[in-house]
Symmetry: C2
Subunit: 388 residues, 2 copies
Amino acid sequence: MQFDLLATPQIYFGTGKVETLGNLISEFGSKALIVGSESALKVINLEKIFTNQNLEYIRFIAKGEPTIELVDRGVAAGLDYKAEVVVGVGGGSALDAGKAIAGIIKNGGSARDYMDVIGKGLKIIHPALPYIAVPTTAGTGTEVTKNAVIKSPEDGYKASIRSPLLVPKVALIDPTLTLSVPSKITASSGLDALCQLIEAYTSNKSNPVTDALALLGIQKAINSLLVAYEDGTNLNAREDMALAALLSGICLANAGLGAVHGFASPLGGSFPIPHGVVCAALLAGVVEQNILSLKPSKTSLQTLVKYAKMGELVIKKPIKYREDDYQIIIDYLKTLTQKLHTPSLSTYGLKETDFPAIIEKVKKSSSYRYNPVKLDDAALSGILRQAL
Amino acid sequence: MQFDLLATPQIYFGTGKVETLGNLISEFGSKALIVGSESALKVINLEKIFTNQNLEYIRFIAKGEPTIELVDRGVAAGLDYKAEVVVGVGGGSALDAGKAIAGIIKNGGSARDYMDVIGKGLKIIHPALPYIAVPTTAGTGTEVTKNAVIKSPEDGYKASIRSPLLVPKVALIDPTLTLSVPSKITASSGLDALCQLIEAYTSNKSNPVTDALALLGIQKAINSLLVAYEDGTNLNAREDMALAALLSGICLANAGLGAVHGFASPLGGSFPIPHGVVCAALLAGVVEQNILSLKPSKTSLQTLVKYAKMGELVIKKPIKYREDDYQIIIDYLKTLTQKLHTPSLSTYGLKETDFPAIIEKVKKSSSYRYNPVKLDDAALSGILRQAL
């Protein structure tokens, strides 16, 4: 048994916790750069939070997926303001923007310098400015991970800036902030979380601790994703999904992911498909192909049992781990993605002739190497075909 | 659902991990104060670890349970040496000494100032010097907690110095370091870990995350404590127990404990009983009294189910959560403590006439308030009586 567990040192979870934000900021400094999406900054009442605190702040709007240009502007704003702490408020994109800004403020240069392929691949060597992440969606779990995905629109390229020094100091998760998330985003971000949990749970880098946390997250998502989608005001379901997202971040950061996330990078680079949609469209197919490819090998029993255990959470009673039991989670995921009205990938222009180029990139991706089994080209094509 | 999760940001676990200690130290500085018990400093080959690193170090021997005097001498040694990082190596006592030294170096004064009742009850307000904890026993889980227990022999008093700022920066857990632990210590430290896991799991401050981790730890301890006791060279069993101890620390730090630990402080203050022996002697009795006191109340079903779930781990098959199933864990704990040759408390001079004074202190203790149910005096007496 060998594992590393890197974690956000302070996690606060619960209804109303956002009201403690002022106190948390003052642990680290008195001048805060608040990085947030426009909608998130409306959900959070900053004036109220900063009342009666010896704190000041400026806002920096992070619109859409963070680009090099956006991050560099944020860094300049933070330096100019002499910010002592960065607070990110929003979905995965805004939180990633804040995370990159907090890191680069203390390491210098442009976001581009820290990206591979198009940049210099520089390393983050100085601790980031203290970063407090406040998610307003339940999906990426970036509030507890060490990477930020940055986009260079002119190069048509997305890459992670990655360092243990980027892990937020505080994750402040208040499920009430997700009550107004529209159902479409609830579906795609929720499926992102569920996908991260399932891939981390079955990853070949998983360990007993991430397994226990992943299984808890999968249980919460199975119980509550559809409920939150159908009734966004259901606080219990929102709580469960916020917890599932948090756990998905802890698990992916420590156990890696799998083939779905191997597909996500080349598909997202070449087609305008949101990340959550890729997860939604491919998850059931990848699980099915993994199980088919694992079956002949006796050494893979441990992973097959994990797929059966997920089925146990679906049917809510003990199962006997027979071969039929592997099918329960596949059927569940197929039905779930239908009920969540997941768009097909052909909607975004993906065609069968694109498959070979995508598949070559999948096989080289960093996530795919943690998939529990190597899939052959026919299996990888099959996954894309059922998602068209 | 409301919870806080404070965690050591970097946890490294596995056989051979101790060889990375030099690299980990150099993340934080180049001058290390190594605080360790004499036996632990023999187990770890410091010369080898510090070879080829631009690091220097001094050793500071921490013998027995840390006293105010010992901590103050350690602080002076660290200041004099201008240490940039503190490394603790040993069992819970040596690790607590290192933790307190790292904290007080940056906060000034004497350990006494930070203790309640006999001291000034000062608060730790400055971050501790970076502290790396390397346990050589599997028990307290102090490598991931925020408190250090300090003793004042002249006052006959023990108290925790406690602050989130004391949480170690790194926990480096190499189960091979525990291979030479004598069976007696394996038993008492292992029962301490199991007790912490059971109390945190059934604590009224527990949350779904600590529950998942506690249940994993309980499973590991049930599978391996007796094995490690009977054959200390069994690496798998040592790994399981090191993991159980780590998880017990994470769980107690975030979910609190219960009545056993409520007894530990007054018993340990008045009689020369090692902490692990208190846990061993009282655990089965507290679980039994808790279950008896919980049964009449319908609202307590959730906690009773937890006791049944532990039974499931003992018999290794699904159970139906009927009333009889609560008995499985009680019987298991009684048999386990017999097999581990737990000494009775009368060995240390405890007599029935001491009960009333002890019980008054239990009811005021900080751990007892997290016990899942208030126990009446007869129940508390019964627990002590069966341990005599």
